[in-house]
Symmetry: C2
Subunit: 491 residues, 2 copies
Amino acid sequence: MAKDFTKRAEDYSKWYNDLVVKADLAENSGVRGCMVIKPYGFAIWEKMQAELDKMFKATGHVNAYFPLFIPKSYLSKEADHVEGFAKECAVVTHYRLKNSEDGKGVEVDPKAKLEEELIVRPTSETIIWDTYKGWIQSYRDLPILVNQWANVVRWEMRTRLFLRTAEFLWQEGHTAHATRKEAIQETEQMINIYATFAEKFMAMPVIQGLKSANERFAGALETYCIEALMQDGKALQAGTSHFLGQNFAKAFDVKFANKEGNLEYVWATSWGVSTRLMGALIMTHSDDNGLVLPPKLAPFQVVIVPIYKGEEQLAQISEEALKIKADLEDKGVSVKFDKRDTHKPGWKFAEYEFKGVPVRIAIGPRDLENGTVEVARRDTLEKETLQVSDLGNKISNLLEQIQENLYQKAATFRDDNTHHANNWEDFKELIANDAGFVYAHWDGTSETEQKIKEETKATIRCIPINNKLKKGSCIYSGNSSTQKVLFAKSY
Amino acid sequence: MAKDFTKRAEDYSKWYNDLVVKADLAENSGVRGCMVIKPYGFAIWEKMQAELDKMFKATGHVNAYFPLFIPKSYLSKEADHVEGFAKECAVVTHYRLKNSEDGKGVEVDPKAKLEEELIVRPTSETIIWDTYKGWIQSYRDLPILVNQWANVVRWEMRTRLFLRTAEFLWQEGHTAHATRKEAIQETEQMINIYATFAEKFMAMPVIQGLKSANERFAGALETYCIEALMQDGKALQAGTSHFLGQNFAKAFDVKFANKEGNLEYVWATSWGVSTRLMGALIMTHSDDNGLVLPPKLAPFQVVIVPIYKGEEQLAQISEEALKIKADLEDKGVSVKFDKRDTHKPGWKFAEYEFKGVPVRIAIGPRDLENGTVEVARRDTLEKETLQVSDLGNKISNLLEQIQENLYQKAATFRDDNTHHANNWEDFKELIANDAGFVYAHWDGTSETEQKIKEETKATIRCIPINNKLKKGSCIYSGNSSTQKVLFAKSY
């Protein structure tokens, strides 16, 4: 499997695409730009969903569901928003097909034209704030802390599996608050949750920060983000949380009576992560042997492969394997026992290595005699022989070690590939060499940011939240700057 | 809340709609025919999803995700399928909007017309079988046991919240098998799972059976269904499982090499339940006082309401309430403690009764002295005073009793409203009076079924699976019949 597999150093982009397809994560469909998420890939996404959903609910959020379609006129109500989203959307214009006159197939029935076109949601602020208008009268109705798991569509011209697809899956939180302060707290709380999820479950270190005006969500006053560094030196935006101010409340006329009985516009946030996280996960940990998964998100954490000749040996080994499986499951470890007779052990070893299963246990006849198993870990490819006694605890500990090792490895990579540029020449050279994150002084203007982007393809990934303020001069314009910001080329 | 609430006997349809809206389950959106599922309603759907998903996985199924859009040409590949679904679908024809020339809003950009129109999936057989073609080469690749949780769109002209909406949420299983026998077993297994779910979790008795040819899924050789009886004497189809034969394999040219190396077409099934189950749940149990929920699907099973004067009393009662809450949660009971000071106890009692919370616990100062609480059950509206000691077990038992009582009540209603018509006059009268399920002999022809439908609006709900064969003559045509089948007017 790994033999006709492109190496990262040869062609990183091809390596990524081959990996996604060959590890059975996703594939392109017959619909341009839309992917099929295959069962193995979807199982990882389900684990992400389950953990995130738990974190949302633990902070008081509830789920709901809003329409897939947005009337065209809704999009126009918030000026920045329509600029950002109208340019790349799927438009429903008709509601019926009819048999073709030539008798071959079906065609759009011109009589079934919609009076107002419907847009397949690229994001749901407009339809949700149109709904919230009916839900909010008084301060007693606030806050509203709602999340939605949904599919959305943005008509991207160049698509890549998980990273940029016309349709993708995501969650979008949309909250309504009585005060500016509370809305900002919510925005910050959610970016913190995303950062915790990325680091604790994805084993992916991230930098939290604010977007510059150029990179803000269309309709937001502030966009908070988490940024991760991929192995090719490019940044990937892994989650965003927007403080929307009163923009959508004003666009949809949503006011509440405060405790004094006066009407005020409601304050809003929205925040989301998507199946793009799958791309981030893959690119953070995987290697030239295939996928590497952190144990906390692996569809199964351990695979047991029997090595046997004949039915009788298989029966003996199976008995032992099922005991081990039960012991591991008692410890909360998920296990697959693969005793298929259609494939040889060597084939299975290659398969599970390629699919990133964190731990492989092999049991042969000699192991049975000795009360041992062979344990291989995917992250380091190390093997060791372990006694079966107390294997449940040993494997639990090993999984924790792997989770921690993956995080540390990624953090070290990130730190090794983070630079400071003190002048324009250094900056250009670092960016041209895909050297990773580059901190540099910036004069704070959109014009400068735009010019840097045009000349180097690098953008400001964020203004890190814990940044130290330190005066300097902008690497591009030479004008004064209050702090360094984080630049990189990005996905 | 219940005071301006329509009674069932006055106007059943209005009762239903009022209930859905006033109990915060769902509401109509600004998009024609599309609903907003509100948090309280969505929490019930999430419980349904969780239980069904567990049952699917326990029988070897895995989840995946396929595109929202289906190219127009795909729909045409299976002749019956396109007839069934092309007539009411949302058609995407363009992929961009542009600023209007009058400067007001946005309009479809005529330059961004798709070469081939895309249909928003009304069901996914075609896109999935187009995908399976790439997944299946040999018998080793079979079976494929995949499920998808998704939104679908069917452009219905008359819509009703949950029961019939343009967009709805559902799951659709799509399986591929090497043999006809295995596919039929799968079809039957899944309708059994739906029946078990309906009876065990929804407390809703159902009749399993086969659809007549007229009522079959477009593209299926057999459609199995579960049918439930609503309180107004109408039937509701609550789930279907289709044996698709080799129709889709032939349409999309999906063959596999069997063990002997010969190529054969693959056998298929598909099966689904949708947010329509929410309508079935509501109409099966609710009453003139509002929603009634079976404990196994209630967002929270118990609500604790404190009755107090002043902060100090509230503090004392809260302490006791939180102990009770912890005790109940230890027993696996979900509890909400509502100590909001913005609403009075009487208002809260009315609210939770209307929202169908199975058990309400009230605690006042005298209860504190006596070590008691007042427990009210929603199904019978009975109240009793219970000692706090061992309350966890008592409430657990009570919830089981309520679940069982709801099932029995619904089963009794169903049995009381099931009739046998031995001639056409009796049949017409029973149907005209909305008398419920009517068993009657039928000659087995589509023509007769069609005429009965035209004259009475009744359709064959199913040919029950456990039907006894017994000869007779068709109530309509007088021709010979091998068995009685189940008729009713339906949703």
